[in-house]
Amino acid sequence: MAIATARVDEGAAGTAERKKAARRTPIVVFVAVLLVILVIPALFAPWLAPHDPLEGRLAHKLKPPAWLPGGTWEYPLGTDPLGRDLLSRLVFGARVSLSVSLVAIVIGGLVGTVLGLFAGYFGGWTDALIMRVVDVAFSLPTILLALVLAVVVGPSFETVIVIVALLLWARYARQVRGEVLSVRERDFVAQARIAGCSHLRIIFGHILPNVTNTLIVLATLQVGYVILLEGTLSFLGVGIPPPSPAWGLMVATGRGLIVSAWWVSFFPGLAILITVLALNLLGDWLRDRLDPRLRQV
């Protein structure tokens, strides 16, 4: 009867769920629109941006947004202290943020997934060793190590990616290992073993496809987090080095100008907020869709 009750309980949420589904569809559309707005400029930045993001005209420095007194439509969102067009920098900044995040997640995800697969599949010493390292990785004061690392090798695009990947892999390893532990016991794995498949073949051919949903959801949810992290690093001056148009860096530039030229730091921060919000919504939606078990992620 437990099964029936469970089903009925699900039904109990039915009316609420239906309302939610009705409300959720516009959210998905909203997210899709947001992401298109973000991704298209990132892809076509050189053609879409009205100005060069790096070249400024000092004569035009700190112009307010177009709708404020003193603003012109030549610089819709105004200019920064070096006279660079804020909108153009934002558009190119989307490129920086998205590419850093994607590359870092792919690297961190690959390493973490492979280690998680091994730990879960082989168990025993392999598992103990890898999970110990994961535990330590989780308890490192991340941002401080990132600061140290950034100073050691100097801030650059690659450094940021390495730092972020270093912070991410443990998450994948833990999640994947947990999934593998349950997948491993299923019959098709035994079947593959009987059929004489090698360990590697079983791991990558049979088990990996069963954890891909988890990986997709985890990755989507992490893009937002990584953009925040990259923003934070850049803000602290240990991320993307100037004069690159990184959003976090732009917020830092405007920090001291909040009294006289609020737009310099306001818009880049808003860009981060909207991007991360859209990605988080998308991740939540995907998670509900693909893998409700990941609710705690």
């Binding site: 099964i3 009925v8 039915g14 009316t15 609420a16 769920e17 589904a21």
Partner: protein, 329 residues
């Protein structure tokens, strides 16, 4: 049959879900008297548990709603009561034992705490008196060294022990009616037998009206005086337990009994009957058992059969066209 203590008349509990209306309980009637045991038997999903929860007015909200019928306890209709009145009545006059003892005790409170809670709420007991009564309750369900157990936490007890604790909680305020929803399904066979014996003894001691929900006809034979067989949210056959065992009339009951080994031998699970129970949100008109029934005729597909008395009139009734129209003689 004695005067009914609990009488359910034409109970309808429906779930309003996004797939449509699920008529989990659709016109169920039965009665239980003091000291009597009624078995409710049926496959998973036939509405047994929802019937039980409906009696306590604890149907999962917001989708589930009791849309019709009466539940009479000592002649008072529970469906007319306020939530506050219901709360006072739950645990004190009607109580219930849930299926899975592993999950029905709260892991963060001690056993004593959980047994004492109902006593505190309903009888206003406090301090040493409360504790002593809780201890007596544990002793009553034959838990050895109850003083020690009071201080234990659920995870420190075995499944059988936990189910005894659940029994102690359910009976602590001396209810008149006890509903047991498959209380032994998740226990070992030997523990099952012990628990059933205990339940029987307690029932006799306390003159309980017991509603025993199960899918196991073997248990019905041991425990019950009368039995109601449920299928797809309705009672399809009801009567004295011997009568039903010896002269089942509804094809579903016959199929259930045919799949049970002879009386007195133990069965783990009901051997399966050909086919599946129908999905409750797309019930066709007519008798829901048609797809699995060997005797089905046109009329069965068109209209739900009336419930008619059969045999020598000792309350044996069945809802089947075959019986109503006497095809089987």
């Amino acid at each position: 049959m004695s005067v009914p203590l609990l009488e359910v008349r034409d109970l309808r509990t429906w779930f309003f879900t996004r797939w449509g209306v699920v008529k989990a309980v659709d016109g169920v009637s039965f009665a239980v008297g003091e000291g009597e045991t009624l078995g409710i038997v049926g496959e998973s999903g036939c509405g047994k548990s929802i019937t039980a929860l409906s009696i306590l007015r604890l149907v999962p909200r917001p989708a589930g709603r009791i849309v019709g019928g009466e539940i009479l306890l000592d002649g008072e209709n529970l469906l007319d009561k306020s939530e506050r009145e219901m709360r006072r009545l739950r645990g004190s006059r009607v109580s219930m034992i849930l299926q899975d003892p592993m999950s029905s005790l709260n892991p963060v409170f001690s056993v004593g705490n959980q047994v004492a809670e109902a006593l505190r709420i309903h009888q206003g007991l406090q301090g040493p008196g409360l504790w002593a009564t809780a201890r007596d309750m544990l002793r009553r369900v034959r838990i050895p060294s109850p003083e020690l157990r009071l201080r234990a936490y659920p995870h420190q007890l075995s499944g059988g022990m936990r189910q005894r604790v659940v029994g102690a909680i359910a009976l602590s305020c001396r209810p008149r009616v006890l509903i047991a929803d498959e209380p032994t399904t998740s226990l070992d066979v030997t523990i099952q037998a012990q628990y059933l014996r205990l339940l029987k003894e307690l029932q006799q001691e306390m003159r309980l009206a017991l509603v025993f929900i199960t899918h196991d006809f073997g248990i019905v034979a041991k425990m019950c005086d009368r039995v109601a067989v449920m299928y797809a949210g309705r009672v399809v056959e009801t009567g004295d337990v011997r009568e039903i065992f010896n002269h089942p009339r509804h094809p579903y009951t016959q199929a259930l009994l045919a799949s049970v080994p002879p009386l007195e031998s133990r069965v783990e699970r009901l051997a399966s009957i050909e086919g599946q129970p129908p999905p409750l949100h797309t019930l066709p008109p007519g008798c829901p058992f048609v797809p699995r029934c060997a005797h089905a005729r046109t009329v069965c597909r068109q209209e739900y059969p009336p419930t008619v008395g059969v045999g020598n009139g000792d309350g044996h009734r069945a809802a089947c066209w075959k019986v109503a129209e006497g095809w089987d003689g």
